[in-house]
């Protein structure tokens, strides 16, 4: 596969392969030909200025309605991702960490987590977890994310601070153990302590069989979750790809020079 500079030599088949993806929102083309290959074991960072299409890419891959896919393909483990409903994508092992997790008072966290875990297990042909097994699984992850156990009986994200919501997103990811995690600006709004906790959670999930795509505006998250590849999205296209040094260069120089190159 040679769709992404710098990883052409990699041998394994991509877990996620996006080819020439074009997407419109409200009649306007937001993604204008994005190609990306992500293999198991890799961590990719997708950076870019506001409005470059980063979040659109994450949400389109997760199946959010409201986007018009004009052209292009996305394959996840060889399956046509766009042929799957959002819940099927999730059960197949794709996880979207939301930039703005919604609050759902009246649905408690434990119920959501258990329902989600068991939906994924059914998909994999595994027996569902009973209440005791579920609690055993979730308790260890709660501890890692430094969340009080009482949160399990609270409504989903109800009354949570911004940092608590992001920790809850990562907790859900840890419990669900996806094959591919798309984390949409998980670092936004976090203070440094919360950022470290979230980063520890993400790092704990790094594994040879799993891939992580971090969508972020800033470099600081990448000090803690070190990416294998960095891509810069500008004007709906991947304008540049490289290793972690690219993120450091962006930190020094900002995004304007890349946006100008993309416009040229």
């Amino acid at each position: 596969m040679s769709t992404v500079p710098g990883i052409a030599a990699a041998a394994a088949a991509p877990l996620l392969e996006v080819r020439d993806l074009r997407v419109k929102v409200g009649g306007q083309e937001v993604l204008r030909g994005v190609s990306l290959a992500v293999r198991a074991g890799e961590v990719h960072a997708i950076m870019g200025p506001n409005g470059s299409g980063k979040s659109t890419l994450a949400h389109v891959l997760a199946g959010r309605p409201g986007y018009e896919i004009v052209a292009g393909t996305a394959c996840f483990e060889g399956r046509d991702l766009f042929a799957l409903a959002p819940e099927q994508r999730a059960r197949a092992g794709l996880f979207l960490g939301f930039q703005y997790p919604v609050e759902i008072p009246g649905v408690n966290n434990a119920y959501l987590l258990k329902a989600a875990v068991n939906a994924a297990r059914r998909e994999r042909g595994l027996p569902e977890l009973d209440a005791f097994e579920f609690l055993a699984v979730v308790r260890a992850k709660i501890k890692l994310m430094q969340i009080d156990e009482s949160f399990l009986s609270r409504g989903v994200n109800e009354g949570f601070s911004g940092g608590e919501k992001k920790r809850n997103e990562i907790l859900q990811m840890l419990v669900l153990e996806p094959k591919l995690a798309l984390l949409d600006e998980t670092d936004s709004g976090l203070d440094i302590d919360a950022l470290k906790v979230v980063a520890d959670g993400i790092n704990s999930l790094r594994a040879a069989e799993r891939a992580i795509v971090l969508v972020t505006h800033y470099q600081r998250m990448l000090d803690y979750v070190v990416p294998d590849f960095v891509h810069v999205l500008a004007r709906g296209r991947i304008a540049r790809s490289g290793d972690r040094t690219l993120a450091l260069e962006l930190e020094r120089r900002g995004y304007d020079w890349i946006s100008e190159q993309a416009a040229a």
């Binding site: 997760a62 199946g63 959010r64 309605p65 409201g66 409903a85 959002p86 819940e87 999730a90 059960r91 996880f95 979207l96 939301f98 997790p101 919604v102 759902i104 008072p105 009246g106 649905v107 408690n108 119920y111 959501l112 329902a115 989600a116 939906a119 994924a120 998909e123 009986s153 409504g155 859900q172 669900l176």
Partner: protein
Amino acid sequence: MSTPASAVRSDILDRIMRDYEAVAARLPDTAVPRELRGRAMRELSRLGWPKASDEQWRYTNLRAFEHVPAFAPVVLAHAAGAAAVTPALELPAPLPGFERLLYIDGVRAGAAATAAAMSGPEWPAEQRLGLLCDMFASDVAALRIRGTSAIEVLFLTSGAAAGAACYPRLQLELEPDSQLQLVERHLGGPAAPTLVCANVAIEVGRGAQLMHYRLQQCGAQTVFTDTLSARLAEAASYSVRQVAIGAASARTSALVRLAGRGAAFSWQAIAVGRAQQVHDTALKVEHLAAATRTEEVFRGIADERARIAFSGHIHIAASAPGADARQSLRGLIEGAGAEIDLRPRLEINTDEVKAQHGATTGALDENLMFYLLARGIERSTARALLKWAFLGDVLRAIELPALRSAAEHGAAGQLPDVMAIGALT
């Protein structure tokens, strides 16, 4: 007994008057003084039967009343030799710490009436169905409370009430600085059409606090109507948590007057309808004194071909500077033939008020739906969860665990998909 010539006549009004004439002499004065019954009869005759063309009654299922076979209270039918009254339903478990008063078909079971009846309010035209209960009531739960108390008044419609009417009647005077938790519950299950026509009159004394839980779980064929009047003195607090899930057709009409400075009123209610149920609520709050507060929350779900209406009218008089009124009305239409009508109305006649209202009706929130789907949850399960969450604000405001559980199971019973996923806490 004749009606004034100026009366607006209708077949149903004629039937009501005939039924009243037939039983008036046998109705107990202890429940309603005879002169009050007569006055109610004359007032209803003067006002006439409500018409659907009137805005206040537009969403009420008035036709359901036309199918009520008889307006005389069922207890008189028993006295004439009909089947003995036997509860057709198992009674709910007692609430810990609550004294229970049980009324079967509108009559106190196993004890005499609680206290002498009070005169009761004069019902305005939009609450004229209250006049029916004034005319026909067979008993009254009359409570005068001083200090701290917890009382459950259980109104049960028995199988013997099938085809007849019953008139639950509750009068409460909460004395100054007293506190009461009051549970008012209407249960029933007879198959034949039955009218349950309840009146509730409440006076909350200075500095007193009343928490009033209201659960309406009448039988599927019942025509239910309740008419509530409450008056709050200075610094009094009155909170209502209402769950309306039963009956073929239900009309709640409430008028709350915040008469004393600093009086505070809270109304949090849900209505869940399915099949062809009709739930219609008309709540009017009058801010008559300074620094009075109202908070209204309503959540309605209409499934299948159900109709749900909520009219929230808040009137802030010139005598009520510093009033604070908030309304949040939301409806969820689940059935293709379902209908929800929410009518917020703020009428402000003074400066220096805080007022806000919001009313939305529609389908489930797509953002919330996507969040659940993105966690791999089945679409049908996600829908059920979100429906349940929609009612969550109000159900969680029921602070008594046993009652909240009863309300939750009752509401979930109206939503089979919610029951199926076992989301109840």
